[in-house]
Symmetry: C2
């Protein structure tokens, strides 16, 4: 039996007569923080190259933020989810598909886009640099991989009436052949007796469009957090890799050195050993591993 509403309509009748009101609606963009890891140049062939964490940025070819660098992204269409929009953008921008993709946060500060009311539903993608070939030909817009560094500059905790305020100031530095972009982002946590609220603010920004410095900072923090308790970092690796390479990836994400023995114990059940070894490395060969997909034990 169908229920009737106050106007005596069934649900089907209601939906047939329903018209979307003409109140204002936001545009929703899916913006992507696409991470990969590359090898730095190394002059000494016997030394291992260092790893670098890189983020894909696109130089804006029109206003607003003309000439600034922005995250790849685009508006969500009515026939797709935000995730599908993100996957579509990723495919268009890098040609890759079927990679790790995770929703981060929806940014909705008023005025974050000077043109109009636009929210950004942000995603993080992790891809193996071997997989991707930037379409360098299409130079109406230029895209580039920027080396990312994200460091704590200052930490402060102040006691206030009935609680405290904690502020962390981070510097985000992005560098590539196209130059260096630097932003500082402050995270503020206000704790009172009943509540704890936290927010991000961009303190300074040189070269990044919109609030994208915030989004990248948020993505790096999510990545750092998850590296410690998931196998997420393995999505940045090629099919076969050495444990030292994996450790370098952890180190470049966390921006801190790890102890070899402890690291190997920690990742032991995230990987499966293979019978392959590195060759012609100028030193002892290393066993190659792959991401573990089977049951443990």
């Amino acid at each position: 039996m169908d229920m009737l509403d106050r106007d005596g309509l069934t649900e089907r009748e209601f939906l047939e007569q329903y018209r979307v009101g003409d109140y204002e609606r936001p545009s929703v963009a899916a913006d992507m923080v696409i991470f990969t890891v590359t090898d730095a140049d190394e002059d000494n062939y016997r030394k291992l190259p260092e790893k670098e964490l890189r983020v894909l940025l696109i130089q804006r070819g029109g206003h607003p933020f003309l000439g600034k660098w922005a995250l790849p992204g685009g508006f969500v269409r009515p026939d797709e989810t935000t995730e599908q929009a993100a996957a579509r953008e990723l495919r268009e921008e890098t040609g890759v598909d079927n990679v790790y993709l995770e929703q981060l946060y929806t940014f909705s500060d008023i005025g974050r886009d000077p043109r109009a009311w636009v929210m950004s539903c942000s995603y993080m993608a992790l891809i193996d640099s071997g997989q991707v070939q930037l379409k360098a030909g299409d130079d109406a817009v230029s895209a580039a991989w920027f080396k990312a560094s994200y460091r704590l500059l200052r930490e402060r905790k102040e006691l206030i009436e009935g609680g405290y305020v904690k502020k962390l100031l981070h510097e985000l530095k992005l560098s590539s052949d196209h130059g260096e972009l630097v932003a500082t982002v402050e995270w503020t946590m206000t704790a009172t007796e009943t509540s704890t609220a936290s927010s991000y603010a961009i303190v300074s920004n040189d070269g990044l469009a919109f609030d994208h410095a915030k989004i990248i900072a948020y993505a790096i923090e999510r990545l750092r957090g998850k590296v410690n308790y998931t196998d997420i970092a393995l999505h940045l690796m090629p099919k076969l890799f050495t444990l030292t390479e994996l450790q370098q990836v952890y180190e470049v994400i966390l921006d801190k050195e790890l102890l070899k023995a402890a690291f190997r114990r920690k990742v032991a059940d995230l990987v499966t050993e293979t019978d392959h070894y590195t060759e012609n490395a100028g030193h002892r060969p290393s066993r190659l591993f792959r991401r573990r997909l089977e049951e443990i034990r």
Copy 2:
């Protein structure tokens, strides 16, 4: 010097002439999962009452989902962020302000609202049940606190070509004087050599509107995760509480019993002891604690 775009406009000129296109845009709602903890009735005055985790739901007074129960929420307005919209809804619904509020996830499945294209930016709020007084008078819509239980029903892992699929089936049960709502939600993780994707699906649903079963399930999982490594649970407590009460809250969130000694060690530096004690409890009095807001040590 101002940069000029392809049309020879400065950024200011561009923004002045900019008009929002008339392509379709979604409505964005802020939906809230509001948690609190209450005492169950206890006949024996010497025994401590059990704690119950509760979620606020509102019975729908119109189509669609007439008569079903939904999360409190509403559309985000052009002059506010999603977070401000969530805080506003929370204030309107419960009268509380200045509580713990955290963005969860933005749900955007197509067809999730049968009327129109609506995304839900969901939030979780934690409030102390002592603070809140439901406006029971306003009965155009009825609101009620439902006791939440969220349990794993089945766990399956299947090997597939080049990876595996892991499925977790959970049962969400919400009960109150208004009856019992039951939904089952399946979380599917598909891991292949290069990617890991996961998604939620509602398998069965009796009494909840929209995809709110998913949102509540997601909120409970977030709450369970954060309880272990933050002081988030303290936002569910009154100003003064005993460690046994705090342990009960942890237990009801995690749906598992904890060992007293280990629990006390774990929360020791999240709380500050006071000189107050419980009285007339029918047994040994207990020291009262409050949430630690000062520096540790």
